[in-house]
């Protein structure tokens, strides 16, 4: 990590790192279980749903039980069916946004890192301003410009997040470029493309992956927020945010509809965040190098 590593007693540090790795693995497992359960729900919803999405035969606002695992909403639609569809939308929103953020963000970040002088200054100032603006508002602007669909929401969230990823990528690349091994590679005649692929990317991807996992959770939250405002996937798509918005008025009389989507949302985001934490502890190159 720092240049002082060699001066410090080796054993305690190795022990601490080993501990970090074990804890990292445990965190990773818990995170995978949580996020995996929701992903499974999403996967199953592609092939099978307890009730058709527009089936309103269940009677309005019935409580949990009686053939409806979670009861029904104010139109008589099965809540568990909606929760399952919602898990699919949440996972799609997270994956789509992160993919966009990764592609645009990393490209911009690498470019900014290689740019020098005013171009670098301008790009970073632009990214700083963009980052200061709430993701949700950039998203609202884009969603309003296009129509309110899941696609617009994902595009909007992905674009807003790409600024964050770009700034991180820029800092990471700059840090790597300042290392002696880059100078060594360059003086030994390695071309820039080979340097980037062979030295820069392998050194920055662990940190990037961890950040992208965190962005996944944020994207899921942002999509829920947009849907709550009525700017996400239009009905009858049961996004968790929309379900919560619809259930708000009947929170005290029929709490299942206002609790279930929220709880699943929290579990998914915690799961993904735990995966990010676990990855950070296990992927850290400084940790990996010491493995014997």
């Amino acid at each position: 990590m720092t240049g002082t590593d060699a001066l410090e007693p080796a054993r305690p540090k190795n022990a601490a790192r080993a501990g970090r790795r074990v804890r990292g693995t445990a965190t990773l497992v818990v995170g995978c279980v949580l996020a995996g359960a929701i992903a499974l729900l999403a996967l199953v919803s592609l092939f099978w749903l307890p009730f058709p999405a527009d089936d309103t035969s269940g009677g309005r606002l019935t409580g949990p039980g009686e053939g409806h695992l979670l009861g029904t909403d104010k139109l008589g639609r099965d809540l568990f069916t909606q929760v399952m569809t919602g898990s699919r939308i949440a996972v799609e929103a997270g994956l789509g946004s992160v993919l966009i953020a990764a592609v645009i963000g990393v490209t911009l970040g690498v470019l900014a890192a290689f740019a020098q002088g005013w171009l670098d200054d301008t790009l970073s100032a632009f990214l700083d301003i963009l980052i200061a603006f709430p993701t949700l508002l950039l998203a609202m602007l884009i969603v309003a410009a296009r129509s309110a669909t899941l696609g617009s929401a994902v595009l909007a969230i992905g674009l807003a997040q790409s600024a964050v990823v770009a700034r991180l990528a820029r800092i990471l690349v700059k840090r790597v470029l300042a290392q002696d091994y880059i100078t060594a590679a360059r003086t030994s005649g390695t071309s820039w493309p080979r340097t980037v692929l062979g030295h820069v990317l392998p050194n920055i991807w662990p940190t990037l992956v961890v950040n992208l996992a965190l962005q996944f959770g944020l994207a899921v939250l942002a999509e829920a927020g947009l849907s709550y405002l009525g700017l996400g996937a239009p009905p009858p798509n049961a996004s968790w945010g929309r379900m919560l918005q619809e259930a708000q008025a009947t929170f005290t009389t029929a709490p299942a509809g206002a609790l279930a989507p929220g709880i699943l949302l929290v579990l998914l985001v915690i799961g993904v965040n735990l995966i990010a934490d676990g990855l950070r502890d296990t992927l850290d190159p400084a940790t990996r190098r010491r493995r014997t």
């Binding site: 949700l136 602007l141 410009a145 939250l221 405002l229 919560l244 929170f251 005290t252």
Partner: protein, 321 residues
């Protein structure tokens, strides 16, 4: 210092100018003519043309832009296409809700997060240190609007302690009512904001705790508290302040969801309505004011960081880079 202030001021003005150009161009790229919002469905082409002429959206873009800049220079944010009311007074009325909401939530979040983050780092091997980290993990996963819904159900509908939403019609002329209606929104935002702040404070504190200078200070005989106060606080606060700046700026507008949950007439909901109605002057006005606020907050955060950390004084912009 004077040189820095001058350069920073130039940077501020240039950023603001750039942002206003980007804002203007981006908005004009949006499909959908604002004149449609003014005319009813099935309006004749003549009626639409008249509406376009009335709001000036038939003029060439550069002319619209210079017109807008001219207005801005004289402190006028323009007139809403939809309500025909001036945007400036509306924005300042909204700020009466949003600024107290944001500042109170921000202060509360800092008051929660700084001690909690410190304890979470310093006492990380105890059960309560771990619990604090766990709670902050939970806090960043909770959608802010869902927390708001739960608070309304528990504290307003069930217990009946506080209003479930809305803001007094006559605003701050009834201060007690205004404060009561802001309590739940402030706590909602503060809790969610502090959850992420705790993580930053915790990691900044961990950096300090593992630092050589702290060990040296302790070896030279200073007490833990004394060393933290003299060396730790200063070093830990630099990264935290840059996060605080971003959090404050994003809460100013990001409160839109909370404003929607609690039906508060704030800046965020004004922007949301403006976007829905293609009301360019409203969108431009709100975003211009918020860009200004974002830049000023960034400036302030920079300045505070430079005062705290002399090593940053050689750079134009501190903190993140």
């Amino acid at each position: 210092m004077a040189r820095y202030l001058l350069r920073r001021l130039v940077f501020l003005v240039v950023s603001l100018a750039l942002a206003s150009v980007v804002l203007f161009v981006l908005l004009r790229l949006l499909p959908g003519d604002p004149a449609n919002a003014l005319t009813s469905v099935g309006a004749s082409p003549e009626q639409i043309a008249a509406a376009r002429h009335a709001i000036g959206s038939d003029k060439p873009l550069p002319e619209q832009f210079t017109h807008w800049l001219g207005q801005l220079a004289s402190g006028d944010l323009g007139t809403s296409f939809v309500s025909s009311l001036p945007v400036g007074p509306e924005v300042s009325a909204r700020l009466d809700v949003t600024v107290p909401l944001t500042l109170a939530a921000f202060v509360l979040a800092v008051l929660i997060a700084v001690p909690a983050g410190f304890v979470a780092a310093h006492k990380r091997h105890t059960w309560y240190g771990a619990l604090l980290s766990g709670v902050s993990q939970l806090g960043i996963a909770i959608p802010v609007f869902w927390l708001g819904m739960i608070f309304i159900a528990v504290f307003a509908l069930n217990a009946g302690w506080l209003p479930a939403g809305g803001f007094p019609q006559d605003g701050w002329s009834a201060p007690a009512d205004a404060i009561r209606s802001l309590v739940l929104p402030v706590v909602t935002i503060a809790l969610v904001m502090s959850a992420s702040l705790i993580r930053y404070v915790r990691s900044a504190t961990l950096d300090v705790l593992g630092s050589d200078y702290l060990r040296t200070a302790r070896a030279l005989g200073s007490s833990f508290g004394g060393a933290m106060w003299r060396h730790g606080l200063r070093n830990a606060s630099v990264p935290v302040i840059s996060v605080l700046g971003i959090e404050l700026a994003s809460t100013l507008l990001g409160a839109v969801v909370v404003e929607s949950v609690y039906a508060l007439p704030g800046l965020g909901s004004m922007l949301a309505t403006g976007i829905a109605q293609h009301d360019y002057p409203v969108i431009q006005g709100v975003l211009f004011v918020s860009t200004l606020a974002v830049l000023l907050i960034g400036f302030a955060a920079d300045l505070v960081q430079r005062i705290i950390d002399p090593r940053l004084r050689g750079r134009l912009s501190g903190g993140a880079r």
